[in-house]
């Protein structure tokens, strides 16, 4: 059998398949369907320094082959996460990646300092791209300077692998990737959601209470894949690719575009077993193609 192990900027994963933050809860929600031990890593819901209640409802709207969400980072706060939600994951042996968001540079620093002390957390995914919160979030993700500042701040507080998650709502994704590479990131994750909206024609009002939301799902895959392809060319950091991955073929497209690992997001909602199906599908593809290691496929679509 082909060796599926990959290394994402210092994080050893037994296979390239992980979960997209915010679509897999704290992991246990999927235990009835998924053998969490078989995941390359688990990325949990975005956490903040203090707990948050998020936005008003409706927070979600379905669109053609996609969905809009405007959750607004509802989460119990980092301390409550470590106390209540991390312990069930630790015995699994699957690396846990915590996705963090801050309103200010300092919050990113404080969050990192807390996580750095926590042996049960394997890596940090830095969300500089949440479109659904008023402060911070997306501003950090659309300016190369601010993205670099956040990255440096996080870097300063930890030696754990730092994965910076980029926003697709930018003119030039490679500029953002270069900025965070230079600032000391170990890997980049892309893409977060595309900013979108939907209108209820009967009520003549936006469907989401928050007006705008983040678009995810198969609809965004072509954009995500293009960005992974561009970033692979532009930087030497490993890439955690995501955006509309529904099947193992989609995952393989991202790997061939240059992703070292992939995250499964919206697919968890349409098929709670999606992550397992994708791990198995990648395994059988490698077997069929007679590969000795998944490494042979990373970036294979580049000439």
């Amino acid at each position: 059998m082909a060796d599926l192990a990959v290394n994402l900027g210092g994080l050893a994963m037994k296979n390239p398949v992980t979960t997209a933050s915010g679509t897999f809860g704290f992991g246990v929600e999927f235990e009835p369907f998924v053998d969490l031990r078989r995941l390359g890593a688990i990325v949990v819901k975005g956490t903040t320094l203090e707990g948050r209640e998020g936005n008003a409802t409706p927070r979600m709207a379905e669109t053609a082959a996609g969905m809009l969400n405007a959750i607004g980072l509802q989460n119990p706060g980092i301390e409550a996460f470590i106390k209540n939600h991390l312990p069930p994951l630790e015995p699994l042996g699957t690396p846990v990646i915590v996705n963090i968001s801050g309103n200010t540079l300092e919050e990113y620093g404080d969050l990192t300092a807390i996580i750095d002390q926590c042996a049960g957390i394997a890596a940090i995914e830095v969300n500089i791209s949440c479109p659904n919160v008023k402060q911070g979030g997306i501003q950090f993700g659309t300016s190369p300077c601010m993205a670099a500042d956040v990255t440096k701040m996080v870097r300063k507080h930890t030696n754990k692998p730092v994965i910076v998650k980029l926003s697709p709502n930018v003119t030039d994704i490679t500029e953002m990737a270069r900025a965070v590479e230079d600032a000391g990131a170990d890997a980049v994750a892309l893409i977060n959601t595309l900013l979108g909206m939907a209108i209820d024609v009967e009520r003549r009002r936006p469907q989401l209470a928050n007006t705008f939301g983040g678009l995810s799902g198969p609809a965004v895959k072509p954009v995500a894949l293009r960005m992974v392809y561009q970033v692979y060319k532009a930087v030497s950091l490993p890439i955690l690719g995501m955006g509309g991955i529904m099947s193992s073929r989609d995952a393989l497209e991202f790997i061939m575009a240059g992703a070292t690992a992939v995250a499964v997001g919206t697919a968890n909602f349409t098929n709670p077993r999606a992550t397992m199906d994708i791990v198995e599908g990648i395994e059988s593809f490698c077997e069929r193609e007679g590969l000795s290691s998944i490494q042979e496929l990373i970036g294979a679509a580049h000439t």
């Binding site: 915010g22 809860g25 929600e29 409802t57 409706p58 979600m60 379905e62 959750i71 919206t266």
Partner: protein
Amino acid sequence: MQPLIHQATVLNHIEVKKDIFRIQLVAPELARRSRPGQFLQVRVSATYDPLLPRPISLHHIDPHEGTVTLLYHRVGRGTALLAQCKAGEKIEIWGPLGRGWSLPGDKNVPAQSVVPIYVAGGIGIAPLLPLAEAWSSVGNPGILLCGGRCEEQLVAVDDFRTRGVFVDLATEDGSCGHYGRVTDLFDTLPLQGRQPILYTCGPMGMLKAIHELATDKGWLCQVSLEERMGCGLGACLSCVCKTKAEQEGKVWTHSKICTDGPVFWSKEVIWDG
């Protein structure tokens, strides 16, 4: 019990009234695991459009036959696709999901000294039938108060009657039963001195009115809430409602309708906000 993914075979599927369908599915493991008030996620399409599954309540659970039945209103694209499923075809569902109604014998719910009152608005009647079956099986079938815009919206009422439930109806256009709202029916309740326990599902406005009535009278009241759902598993946080916070220093919190509900004690819910 833990939810599972089921490939269920459609046993029969009929349009019981205009745009209201009843579908019976062979899903033995699901039927064994489910309880009244829980729901399923139903995949309505094999492609990515529409993308998400649709939450539908369990309307009848038959562990012996190994079937479950759903009752649903065709309102949009997803339910329209579901309506096209034919007997013999397979559909993918996962469940049981959520916490169901408090049943006779559960905490705070004595089986005999209370009278269960089911208050249904429109298709909200769907999850109330298995609840009535549970009460009926302990010899206390209770009362159904059922409201709708017109006669066409009243369904499944006879299924309650055959379980011994006393039924009273109201329609806003007077086409059937009392001419008015379901809340009016409380004026003539045959309580016979017992303490009512209210169970209700329907439009938000109705739920709120029932909650206020229950608060006034000091009756227990459970509501089954709806919100758009991404996962149905407590993972995406799409489906929240405001509830009273247990934590100190906090007035309210966002609870997940899919896993903390869909059934809540009405007094836990924050109704104006």
